[in-house]
Amino acid sequence: MESALAGIRVIELGQDIAGGYCGKLLAGYGAEVITVEAPGGRGRIRAEGPFADEAAPGETGAMHLYLNTGKQSVTLDVESVSGTALLVRLLEHADAVVVDGPHPWLDDLGLDHDTRAELFPKLVTTLVSTFGQTGPYADYTSTNLTSFAAGGQMALTGEPDREPLKNGGYQAEYQAGLNAFTATLAGLWAADDTGDGDEIDIAAMEVMASTLEASLNTYCYLQRPALGGRRGNIMSSVIGIYPCADGYLGVHAMPRNWPALARLIEGDDLVTDERFYSQAARLQHEDELRATIYAWAGDKDKREVYAAAGKMRAPVAYVHDMADLYESPQLAARHYFHEVEHPLAGTLRYPGAPAGMSETPWQTTRAPLLGEHNGTVYKGLLGLSDADLSVLHGQGVI
């Protein structure tokens, strides 16, 4: 079957998580994504383990194997003069470029905004960073942690009596990457319509500030804080995470779900218990209801509760760890994991499509070896000769 983004060529620069995830999504849906890596593979994505083969860390780290699926890899020292020249030629052959990093990165190569617009009028350029391309913090360096703090999500995460907490993995960077994917497609759609490219500035800080639920909007509107600070694991008795015998249960009941939840916990008596029969009553007896749910959850088996809750349409799930994901009957039934073979990492089970497309489905193909596509790209696409390549190689440009 054909791919959704067949015929679209994307250059990825920066080798970090946000741009890397954006590129992974574009590649999975069929774009030809060429990731430009430093000779020697010094990018962060290849550096982080665990490694499938400790003897080949640069090629078998989990982050590289995951984020670089479906891409082509070329090596290029873009900061050298002939490297910059090759980069310009690559961009001339591209429909879009995704650049991950703080403000002056491309400008330092002599490719500032005006030059880019003149050289590549049809190109869609997505610049993804923590603080964006303008403003007083534009040149600041950052990490996932500091970005998560700057964007406002961290102030809401964690327990009120402890320090603010980041959530798991690299969510500030992934959120920026997800938005870069959507924005790049919007840019490509518009460029295809008019023939004019565009530059898109995505700031992770703004991405997160826009997803603070009612907090930011309420403050904008009323000029007073909305929901306070860190919300803890139990926001209210019926929205929270409770320990059970073999793990943790997550309850999330809106008013209309109360009868189903009450039936799951205790049966019809609890549904009609006047302490809890309405939202206002539950709020008044918040402590008692928390105690009731704690006591109920304590000795329960997470899978049994989840199955019973599902049948009764009570919104109770259990916290899935990485092993639970691989053992999930739901994910197995839907063939979520894709087995992919890699010459150095072996066969592993990769998380598959973020979303299904009936006519142009997602494909998971293995991450490239460092510089694996130098020949295809430099010779096939740009028309360089073997002699050119060996000169560039000798100079350390590729």
């Binding site: 905004h113 964690g158 639920e213």
Partner: protein, 337 residues
Amino acid sequence: MDLSSELGRATFLKLVPKCDIVIENFRADVLDTLRLGYDELRKVRDDIILISMPGHGKDGPERDYVAYGTNVEQLAGLVSLSGYRDGPPQKSGISYGDPVAGTLAAGMAIAALIARKRTGKGQYIELSQREGLTSLIGEQVLGYDISKQLPERMGNRHPFYAPHGCYPAAGEDRWVTIACHNDDEFQVLCTLIDRTDLAVDERFATANARHANQDALDAEIATWTRTRSREEIFELLAESGVPAAPVWSADELYDNEHLRARGFFEPVWHRDAGAWEMERPLYRFTRRPTRIRMNAPAFAEHNDYVLRELIGLNADEVAQLEAQGVTARVPDMASHQ
């Protein structure tokens, strides 16, 4: 529009041919129960793009289970990774699954439009929210398949880098994050906090040593941060290339100098809400400036536009829909009690 009534369904099917995309956020079984699934929509517009975004997907043994945003992140695996070092799995501060699914759905819609333009075909997009979110922790999942070790919850720390934490600043409940990803950044940090002794201390000389002796290192850094304001710390470190940022709350972001300088907030006027400011569209296109084009609509504000202009009903037909309770001009608040 009450889609469960025969007249409501028929009216909706008259609207579909006027649309490129139908997007729905019901539980997995609802659209089929309404007889408005993809095959039904295709009968009235062959190249329609339908996007469904159920929690678990459209099939599988758990398809009909109820799942809200907080459940989605529990099912996706994210919550198991989040938490203080000695604590339970921790929920995100927001219903994290929701904005992730929405952003992904917007991208999928455009991907389907791009494909349709080339092939002439529409398609059905099925976005299982938990699967979409697992995609954002993919390296952790694959890492488990490699190592067979469950990742430890490590609070604000990092598996390899140190210092990497959230430190108390001067004032009540004020915090600042600092994270060094290499030796150079750490050396600069030591100079800035006037503790060059730390830079030559063998407990902190290498990334591995710093990681192993983090408790001691964090205590030293916190001693310095505790007496200074977040903004002072941020400016000093960030200006010198050491990653740092205050933990800002929503009300602080509203007055943030950087967001203000970037024009993040845009004044809007709303018939009922009056004048206020909202965050502007996230994606800043250079040649196609984005702005808020329309306010959130009032309830039923566009009934006439949709029913009369798009579908082409006459005034009697519109009145009949209303009289039969298929459409309404005022909301029924009963379901919110």
